[in-house]
């Protein structure tokens, strides 16, 4: 070891494409599995959560309105940038999850591949879950999936990076914008992912990352009237029930916590969970009462 003193990083939130400290001015200590201090992470407040929702709503029009091809390109760009920071994430995940360096590297590789997998879905999901309907009448109609809006994502607690990406990427791949609550005890990979997103053509506000106490941040998100959906992956049973009850106030789409092996290739459930189906009708022949037709 050289006697050079290394430069520590101040981890910050990621909201609206910027890196603010918590509005509350609070931080909490993040340690590795042996209790060694790693960093002070921002301890987000209710106000931070609300700011993040405002940013996510503001970004929704542009992101959902981008072509699916464009969203795929942007997501793939994230994977490229992740690859370049592979060593950094390997170290952070190893510390966060008490993994050996080789195991951590494997997790990071899987995470990058997961991101690429979802990047490829952006312009395919519409054909898989949408389509023309054979109506019994002189009409043409088409069902297409559309993003549901602003999605609050409680990242899984144990899988700080692969789990995080497995729940975040499908949300934004389909055009939603996200407010992510990072793993409470292991938030650093999520906060570093934000740095990657900020430099990857992902428009500011599409992903917002908060660190802190999951229960404290999740409660205002679940009851927020401008949040359209919530993924409860990172909530325990008691909290999940409370949040689901709060979510009923504006009939948020709720994805309940479920046992998931994040190492497995996922299905499309997490893509479809945050999609609406819109059916658009148009007459093909007779124009109704007048009897005229094309």
């Amino acid at each position: 070891m050289s006697d050079r003193l290394n430069v520590l990083k101040t981890y910050k939130l990621y909201v609206g494409g910027k890196f603010p400290r918590s509005e509350s001015g609070r931080v909490y200590e993040v340690t590795d599995s042996k209790g060694k201090w790693l960093a002070n992470a921002p301890l987000s407040s209710r106000k931070d959560a609300r700011d993040a929702v405002v940013a996510a709503r503001k970004a929704f029009g542009g992101w959902s309105g981008a072509t699916a091809y464009n969203r795929g390109q942007v997501l793939y760009r994230v994977a490229e940038m992740l690859e370049g920071r592979r060593d950094q994430f390997t170290r952070e995940v190893a510390e966060a999850e008490a993994l050996s360096k080789s195991k951590s590297a494997a997790v990071v590789d899987a995470t990058i591949d997961r991101w690429v997998w979802y990047a490829g879905w952006t312009d395919k999901i519409a054909q898989v879950v949408g389509g023309g309907n054979p109506v019994a009448g002189p009409f043409f109609n088409l069902s297409s999936p559309e993003p549901t809006g602003v999605v609050a994502v409680l990242a899984p607690q144990e899988s700080s990076f692969l789990g995080l990406v497995s729940v975040l990427a499908p949300v934004i791949a389909t055009g939603n914008t996200a407010v992510v609550v990072a793993s409470e005890n292991a938030p650093l990979p999520a906060l570093s992912l934000a740095e990657v997103l900020a430099t990857s053509d992902v428009p500011g506000g599409v992903v917002n990352v908060l660190s802190g106490r999951t229960a404290e941040i999740a409660t205002p998100l679940a009851s927020h009237q401008d949040v359209n959906a919530i993924d409860l992956a990172g909530a325990d049973e008691v909290l999940a029930k409370e949040l689901e009850i709060a979510a009923a106030d504006n009939l948020k789409r709720v994805l309940r916590p479920q046992p998931v092996d994040y190492a497995e290739t996922p299905g499309i459930d997490r893509l479809t969970a945050f999609l609406e189906t819109k059916t658009v009708w148009h007459p093909t022949g007779s124009l109704g009462a007048s009897g005229s037709s094309y």
């Binding site: 504006n250 009939l251 789409r253 609406e276 189906t277 059916t279 109704g288």
Partner: protein, 478 residues
Amino acid sequence: MAPVFAYAPAPESRAIVDIAPSYGLFIDGEFTEAAEGRVFKTVSPATEEVLSEIAQAGSEDVDRAVKAARRAFEKWSALPGAERAKYLFRIARIIQERSRELAVLETLDNGKPIKETRDADLPLVAAHFFYYAGWADKLDHAGFGANPMPLGVAGQVIPWNFPLLMLAWKIAPALATGNTVVLKPAETTPLSALFFADICRQAGLPRGVVNILPGYGDAGAALIAHPDVNKVAFTGSTAVGKEIARTVAGTRKKVTLELGGKGANIVFDDAPIDQAVEGIVNGIFFNQGQVCCAGSRLLVQESIQEELLESLKRRLSTLRLGDPLDKNTDIGAINSEEQLTRITSLVEQGEAEGAERWSPACELPESGYWFAPTLFTNVTQAHRIARDEIFGPVLSVLTFRTPDEAVAKANNTPYGLSAGIWTEKGSRILAVANKLRAGVVWSNTFNKFDPTSPFGGYKESGFGREGGRHGLEAYLDV
């Protein structure tokens, strides 16, 4: 304007339907009394005549029905899909055979015109059973993976506006996917569901696969909260939908909700006016406006407001309100006294808030529950009649200048069920349809339904889709 030619009455005969003086609950293949012995009366909204006395389900009955459905589930779900399909095809055919009888029954119990039950409700009811019958042996190919499994017992609560159609939307996909059901029809319209029980008997459907529990909200709440119900499906008000979402929180129950709406019907200056007027009338006066996806907010481009309103008023003056069993009737009775009170109160608020009320000259029958087709102008987005779902024949007219303004106003509601677009410009249809936050968008038409087409809401209009391949998902473990 007095009609030049009056129409002679053309009443449909009610002799085709034989309504018994009383009905029981339908549990495990048999009609049975309610455990607590309670009964209620169902009346014809057009005449207030008591049609029949119905056993009223309570929580004990819910428990019995769920147990029967659970017992039946084992065999029903294990049947080869092709066999389940044949039961559903049988049901569809029997509905067609008895469709005249059912149409008259539905009109008597609900108050909607025979023209609608005969030409819209019943054909769609049969079509839904036919459509989902065909899925029963093709579930492996539905895109939910190989061998998707049913959920178990489905608890279903349906509204009074389309009693038999809502039953079909709920029961057909549930049975096709191998679930068994306990269905609670609305207290004001229980009869067609009980006649459906008889159709199940004629079709030889195994006992317990379909159970029908007429009753009030308490029975619905007990059904939804029952620990042995695996799937909850509800169509009705947003307020009750929220209550249901709270009830199922923290459980494994899968839930779909089809809730209220405040649909915008947007008419651009290049729209074909006569056709748009027909669409507006269909959008809000079909089924007396008691339609969750009704086009209850008319958004007219300012430059054509005068011309359109003139045409619309002229058209409304030709609508015939009266005996629902008369084949010439366009507007039937409001479903219940309670609903009439709600409509009346919201309309009075509209006037109090300064909107301008207009109705055509329209004589209301002396008995029964009636409300004349009503139009409000000078409506702003803040008015309650522009925000709350009225669920009656009441249209609020607002204006806009640009397509962006139309979209912003259309989306300015917590609901997101339906919308209409009237324009001759294709690119405008697609651009506007893209921006509307609604589950179904009708362009140059309105209120069209088809079993192949997914239907359901964005935002507070609920979650899940009914109809089409999407409708299967609600009843499969995926």
